[in-house]
């Protein structure tokens, strides 16, 4: 894994070693090792079906709910193995939140959408504290000014971009360390996309962010680090489907692997 390198000043938040993920008998992720730096944005890119989402979902064990999905290898969050026996996914997911491709607010009010996480994790003692958390989270997601007068309206009544920011607010309301985002802007128009990207930038000051994207431009705009995946089955001499991982600038401007170069350039047209 010679390509995988981090600057010496990067603090490591998640470290993966030899991770394999299989659906029944099909290997979707093969032997991936990478370190995800703290308080930076890491982007996963690669052709469709190469396992980006799969790998992202292993980071907070969302794959546990999928029939036939098996994960081997080691993933450590701040030094603790998240697949260790006795690890409670409830606590893990409080630390590692997730935002999905399609905005999926609950069929409840805006307020309740954000309050749900704090409720199930018992993050407050009084109603005032909860109000406070909700307000901070909505501020954090840059949504407060738009919705502060209609917190009781259904979350599904917002525009697509607002809904996605509501989902981000919902994720940060439980005070996570890491936020995983699977193509968070792919269902949105350019203006809403721009807003989300700015938001990701801001959030990176406080959170470790991992984002899957199909847009090269987006990866370059928001990501500090970029990882390029390639689908299994691979050629003989590849022992992993993580082809390249490094600083975004380096991956896009001077890729080491030929396939990375083709993908990145092809994407530029």
């Amino acid at each position: 894994m010679s390509e995988i390198m981090l600057g010496s000043d990067d603090e490591i938040r998640i470290s993966c070693k030899g991770v394999n993920v299989a659906y029944w008998d099909n290997l979707a992720i093969k032997n991936v090792s990478m370190d995800i730096p703290s308080k930076q944005v890491t982007a996963f890119i690669g052709p469709s079906g190469c396992g980006k989402s799969t790998f992202l979902r292993t980071l907070n064990r969302m794959n546990d709910t999928i029939d036939g999905c098996r994960v081997t290898g080691e993933i450590k969050l701040d030094g603790s193995d998240i697949y260790a026996r006795g690890m409670d996914t409830v606590f893990l997911r409080q630390w590692v939140g997730m935002v999905f491709q399609k905005p999926n607010p609950f069929p409840k009010s805006i307020y309740e959408n954000v309050a749900y996480g704090p409720r199930i994790h018992g993050l407050f003692h009084t109603k005032a504290e909860l109000d406070d958390i909700v307000e901070q989270a909505l501020h954090g997601a840059g949504l407060w000014d738009e919705v502060k007068d209609r917190l009781r309206d259904p979350g599904t009544g917002l525009s697509g971009g607002q809904q996605q920011r509501l989902c981000i607010a919902r994720a940060i309301a439980v005070n996570p360390e890491v936020i995983l985002m699977d193509e968070p802007a792919s269902a949105l128009d350019p203006i809403a996309t721009r807003k989300i990207e700015e938001l990701i930038h801001t959030l990176a000051q406080n959170y470790t962010i991992v984002i899957v994207t199909h847009s090269m431009a987006q990866a370059q705009r928001v990501a500090d680090k970029t990882a390029f995946f390639y689908a299994v089955p691979l050629t003989e001499d590849d022992d992993s489907n993580l082809i390249e991982f490094g600083d975004t600038k380096q991956v896009f401007e001077s890729p080491i692997d030929e396939r990375t170069r083709q993908y990145v350039e092809g994407a530029f047209g």
């Binding site: 409830v90 606590f91 994790h121």
Partner: protein, 517 residues
């Protein structure tokens, strides 16, 4: 009395447990610096405080409650068993009637309402009163002890590191599993109760006679008229089979064409205007309770059919038709006599042959199989229509387009292409409808006969399985008596027939679906 008190205390303690569990868990971390980690939340607990409460509530409530329920279920059986066990040998050899009297006396004595009947029954009375003491007092003492124990145990284990959510969710899962298993329980209940009673019946009555007997007359009056012993009725189901068969055939010959053609018409031809009327028509027909159909059949439709049959009689007696009708009727007589002659080759009794028909008179009584059958068929129309519709809709459009593209008319497309392709689905649907018709009760109870004539005459009166179950079971329920047990014997018959038909139908439909999906 004690029971109400106990339940009240149990509920109260459950509530107390709910709050105390939360308090206790929170109390255990008070003072500590609560810090969240991978194993604890902001409270410094392994789960939200509510879960500690819920878990303690579960622990306090469920085991005692289940035990109480279990005791209720077994107690009556246990009482009978205890009496049986302690009965003196002399009583055991007595007749059933005497035994029942003695057992009642024992029960009365044990309850303190009567004096000890005789000293050799003392053991039974003592055992029974011990049992009733236990179930009215001892049980509650025992359960109270259990509750205290569980409470203490639950409180002691409500430590901050205890994964209360897991515990609660496991309890929940078991409760949900229990709910889902009720389906099994019901099936087992059906099978066991049917088997239990039916087996007792077949101990008293030969199953061979049951299945092959051509006379069904369970009641006293009729059966004495036939010169039988006073103790037992005659239970041969052949007339019930033919009766059920006759009515079901009539019903299906109404329901299948009408239902199928309606489905075709509604699916392929009808304009939206027609559909607006026709859909509710089918829904109303499907939603009307069978007792309503029954009343209609008995009060209104049967007289209509009777006058129709009178008219038919008159028509058949027209000079032109008369010879033809007589000829047809006598062909049947000849056939019947042929069968009797054949059957007689294997038995010694002197046969009675049918006489030749000389006049055509179609007789009807107060019950007419045709009327009950037609009304039952009407009830089943929407059932056949919706199942046929499903089958027709499942035929892929490519087949239709192929046929139309070749220049077929719509009717040709339906008859030559779509219907053959949908046939297995339709057949499955018809089987389901038949099973429904066999199990239908109220229409035949009200409009078909209660006396089981062995005939296939649609203008005559026949009885069916369900009618007989009904007449055997209404009134006093003596579960030890042959009559009630006979009802269960028919019941198991009915259960098996419908089970086989349904399984077959579902298998056919599934195969058919797989072909096109």
């Amino acid at each position: 009395m004690l029971l109400t008190l106990f339940l009240a205390v149990l509920l109260a303690l459950t509530l107390v447990g709910y709050f105390l569990g939360q308090k206790r868990a929170l109390g255990a971390v008070r003072g500590d610096q609560a810090k969240r980690s991978f194993t604890t939340n902001n409270f410094g607990l392994a789960a939200l405080p509510v879960f500690y409460g819920q878990r303690l509530a579960y622990l306090v409530f469920l085991p005692p409650f289940l035990l109480l329920l279990l005791w209720w279920l077994v107690e009556p059986r246990l009482a009978s068993f205890l009496i049986d066990w302690n009965l003196p040998e002399a009583v055991r050899q007595a007749s059933r009637g005497e035994q029942v009297g003695i057992i009642n006396a024992i029960r009365e004595a044990a309850a303190g309402r009567a004096a000890l009947p005789s000293t050799d029954l003392k053991a039974a009375v003592d055992a029974l009163s011990a049992l009733s003491w236990f179930s009215s007092v001892g049980l509650y003492l025992l359960l109270s002890g259990l509750i205290v124990l569980l409470f203490a145990l639950g409180l002691a284990s409500s430590k901050p590191g205890f994964k209360a959510r897991h515990a609660v969710e496991t309890w929940n899962r078991w409760v949900m599993f229990g709910a889902a298993s009720v389906a099994i329980l019901i099936t087992v209940g059906i099978v066991l109760s049917l088997l239990f009673q039916a087996l007792s019946f077949f101990q008293a009555y030969s199953w061979f006679d049951f299945l092959t007997g051509t006379r069904w007359s369970p009641g006293g009056a009729f059966q004495r008229g036939y010169g039988e012993e006073a103790t037992g009725g005659v239970f041969g189901v052949v007339p019930l089979m033919t009766g059920t068969l006759l009515i079901v055939v009539i019903a299906m010959s109404v329901a299948v064409p009408v239902g199928l053609l309606s489905a075709i018409y509604l699916g392929e031809y009808a304009s939206n205007r027609v559909r607006v009327f026709a859909k509710p028509l089918m829904e109303i027909l499907a939603g009307i309770p069978t007792v309503v159909y029954g009343l209609f059949a008995a009060l209104t439709f049967t007289p209509w059919v009777a006058s129709f049959v009178d008219g038919l009689s008159a028509v058949l007696n027209w000079p032109v038709l008369r010879p033809i009708a007589l000829f047809v009727a006598n062909v049947f007589v000849a056939l019947g006599n042929g069968f009797i002659w054949l059957g007689n080759l294997f038995s010694a009794s002197s046969p009675t042959y049918f006489a030749w028909v000389e006049t055509i008179v179609l007789e009807t009584g107060s019950d007419i199989a045709l009327a009950a059958g037609v009304v039952m068929g009407t009830m089943i129309i929407p059932f056949v229509a919706s199942l046929s519709d499903d089958a027709i809709q499942a035929v892929p459009n490519s087949l239709r387009e192929g046929a139309i593209g070749m220049g077929s008319t719509r009717a040709e497309m339906m008859i030559r292409v779509v219907l053959p392709a949908a046939l297995p689905g339709i057949a499955g649907g018809i089987l389901l409808a038949v099973s429904r018709a066999i199990g239908e009760t109220m229409i035949v109870v009200m409009a078909a006969g209660s006396f089981a004539y062995l005939t296939l005459n649609p203008f005559g009166s026949v009885s069916t399985f369900t009618v007989q179950i009904n007449s055997l079971l209404t009134g006093d329920l003596d579960f030890g008596g042959t009559k009630v047990q006979a009802a269960f014997a028919i019941g198991i018959f009915l259960f098996l027939i419908t089970l086989v038909l349904n399984t077959l139908a579902l298998a056919i439909v599934r195969r058919f679906r797989e072909e096109y999906d």
